[in-house]
Amino acid sequence: MNKEKCIIDLLAEIGKLLLQHGAETDVVEKGIQNAARNAGYTNIETLILPNTILISLSSDGELFQTRLQRAERQGVNFQVLDRVEAIIRTIDETTDLDQLRLKLQDENQLAAGYPNYLRNIMAATGCAAFSLLFGGDPYIFMATFIASFSGFYVNSFLLKHYFNPFVVIVAVSFVTTMISGLMTIENDFSHIAIASSILFLVPSVAFINSVNDLIKRHYTNGLIRGMRGIIVSFAIAIGMSIALNILGVENFL
């Protein structure tokens, strides 16, 4: 009885970590099932929703253990996916499950990624290189770099204080469009600078996960993730349109 409680807590923790950091439904399901099989339990059923996991484990065909786990935050961090998958592969029947669960709950060590300033610089470089692909000149490159650098800084500052993510996106797209618009207001290529400096907000994870889920027959999850992507796109559009109305739409055709 006690061992079953340990294993179901561990499985819920694994599922929550995978779901919180941007895995698609199929990856979460396979991860939970692989972990259970490695620990010696074959009789397991899972139900996965975009922010909830329901796991039901039966032993001897009679006793059922069920657990509901919520995943509150949604972010993208691929190093967590990599580390959790590596941990799942090391589980076997003699592993100390409680210790493993404590290791998974240690979020600072698990979610450690690249330092924040490096992410900031690299995201700005990516957006700026995008403007070159559409035919911008070095001035447009620098303007895009500065705009998306400051936009990303505002983004991480607001997210650290746990604002609503959609409100954060409206604010960040407003700030980014204002900066890039003010820097290129007299330029012919101003539309390239604005369009590519906003790029780090595009919900690509939501859209690709949505199509993935729909094709693999998780219809509810696919629809909800697609809806989330559409809401994020509209939030970007709202921020941009406020900024462009202030600066005057006629300058940016």
Partner: protein, 150 residues
């Protein structure tokens, strides 16, 4: 050509670090980003439409993803997201939004503007669909035979 190689390199590396991709996945992601940028720009230069060339480029990404994911034991998503940013149709999306703003604020009588903005927004959604389906298709149909192929 050199421009598209450089920008594919910078975009995919930048967004891989933005999404916290693991260190051993960085080289494959850069390779995919460069391949996607070159395929897309070259096909556009030979006169294919934007949708078809985006679909071909993302299909290349999907095939490469399968190989590296089986080799390095990392989920396909990690490679696919960071390298497919290269293909996002930002200019079309921007023009669609600008058109909508113009329609909603003034110039309600201009039919040309309405049709133009509808054209750009449809094109944006089609290209987004081409990216997603091009990445997902190889994993569905070729995934069964991957151990025989590789």
């Amino acid at each position: 050509m050199i421009l598209s190689i450089f920008s594919g390199f910078a975009i995919s590396l930048g967004f891989a670090i933005f999404f916290n991709a693991p260190k051993r996945a960085l080289l494959p992601i850069i390779l995919m980003g460069v391949v996607a940028a070159v395929v897309k720009t070259q096909m556009m230069a030979y006169g294919f439409s934007l949708e078809v060339s985006t679909f071909a480029a993302s299909f290349c990404i999907g095939l490469l993803c399968l190989y590296f994911s089986a080799k390095q034991h990392i989920p396909i998503l990690v490679y696919a997201i960071s390298s497919s940013i290269v293909l996002v149709p930002t200019i079309n999306a921007y023009k669609a939004i600008i058109g909508l703003i113009q329609i909603s604020t003034h110039q309600i009588m201009s039919q040309e503007l309405i049709i133009q903005s509808l054209h750009y927004s449809l094109k944006t959604w089609l290209v987004f669909g081409a990216i997603a389906i091009g990445i997902v298709l190889p994993t569905q149909f070729i995934g069964k035979y991957r151990f025989r192929l590789l």
